[in-house]
Amino acid sequence: MWEIIRKNQRKSLFLLIGMGIVLILLGFVIGSSFDPEAGGFAGIILALVLYFILLIVAFSSGKSIMLRMSNAREVGPDDYPQLYNVVEEMRLAAGMPSMPKVYVIDDSSPNAFAAGMNPNKSVVAVTTGLLNMMTRDELQGVVAHEISHILNRDIRYMTLATVMVGTVAILSQIYLRSMMFGGGRRGGGGSGKNKGNAIMVIVALIFAILAPIAIQLLYFAVSRKREYLADASAARLTRFPEGLASALEKISNSTADLKVADKSMAPMYIANPLKPKGKRMRNLSSTHPPLDERIRILRSMGKNHSYSGYQQAYQAVTKSKQGIVPNSALTTS
């Protein structure tokens, strides 16, 4: 059934393709602004090569970078018996072949994340703030949500997306800076070719400013959908949606910001570690759906803890006909 979920991420895939198109267009426009004839193609190649280099780095050492950035330390069954037990319980419920490594982050803000491209080499990390604040059932809900990210292959998926956002940001920055400091050199001259160039330069400048914003919005849409799905899987694994619901409630009431949080790591956490400043924009520009909405969906699931139960609750709470869970998963569980 996990396999079915993986295969049926059509909507997320479309968003990912959309992000890819933004990246390729940016490469094309920047390249064309230097040389209208052959530059576009070279720009695309440059953008893709940069993307793949960054991707290789992320896939080979993303996990260790993330753990180091958040100052996480590995713990065993003797250090935190309850945490370790809860992780093992969720591993068994999910039928994962091997035990994820358990990490603890010394931070008073309640949060958790999962890492690892491969379900056999995965990591679950929680903050000490979370451990202090949650009951056993609530901790179980949080851990189930993280394990679900691993099972649904969200980490692999989100890495593909995060690196794309990063590549677009780097390309735009380099281009804008080079135009700011080196723009004068190309400014002179009045031949026909240079005139065409000037138009392409303006297009490229506009694109370099807009592309990072566009790709961010697409990225947020992918990330939010993944959060709902991980909540649905968590309810199914624990058969107790109230645990996660009340954990999320506690998280939303806590005021502490995660000190070690970084923008690029946000989608991997259970709740957005960086609290949004304004409320109006939060729906479009957040990696996570609003907590109160996630809580209401979980609480209106009733006795049906399967994917179809979550789907119904989601549609009732958000008043949308949109599907969160792929249809093929609904019929098998």
Binding site: E89, L92, D137, T238
Partner: protein, 183 residues
């Protein structure tokens, strides 16, 4: 020409049959693996019980019958084999332990004992693990059994003797839900 067509059809058919056979084998292995996961946790619980009895014995002078019942059910469960019988015996052991948990409520001294508290987390967690492993096992059995019943893989299942597996079911309806144990 006809020979080539016949040959091609034969190769395609063989590939399909091999594919179905392999997916049956894979699903059956998943069932076996899921069972092994339950088995590990059941053994863990057998190991924990003598420690638990040893710890509580000193405090619980008036509960000899309850304690003996737990010990007896443990011995019985350990001897039983076969999924359906095992499930029944384990269900009885779980309810005997449940009675012990209720009895513990009357002994505040015991509930303050560090050794007991550690054992309690271990036992609670082991019982949760049994439930969660059972949940996964039953899912895997459902997938496998469906595969042995639906056409056309049921033909392969019949030819190679893939038999339906038993669910790990517990009779007591209250035990069907994952217990939210907190002594």
């Amino acid at each position: 020409m006809t020979l080539i067509i016949i040959l091609a059809v034969a190769i395609i058919l063989t590939a399909i049959l091999v594919g179905m056979y392999n997916s049956l084998v894979r699903l059956r292995n998943q069932v076996k693996n899921a069972w092994a996961q339950i088995d590990v946790q059941l053994k863990r619980r057998y190991d924990l019980i003598p420690n638990l009895i040893e710890t509580v014995k000193g405090y619980m002078k008036h509960e000899r019958e309850t304690l003996e019942n737990v010990t007896r059910m443990r011995a019985q469960a350990m001897e039983t084999s076969g999924v359906a019988d095992k499930a029944k015996a384990e269900g009885m052991l779980t309810s005997a332990l449940g009675q012990l948990k209720i009895a513990v409520e009357n002994y505040p001294d015991l509930k303050a004992n560090q050794n007991f508290l550690a054992l309690q987390e271990e036992l609670t967690s082991t019982e949760n693990k049994i439930s969660f492993a059972r949940q996964n096992y039953n899912d895997q059995v459902l997938f496998f059994n469906n595969k042995t019943e639906v056409f056309p893989s049921n033909i392969i299942a019949g030819m190679f003797g893939f038999k339906k597996e038993d669910f790990f079911e517990i009779d007591n309806p209250a035990e069907r839900v994952v217990p939210k144990v907190s002594f």
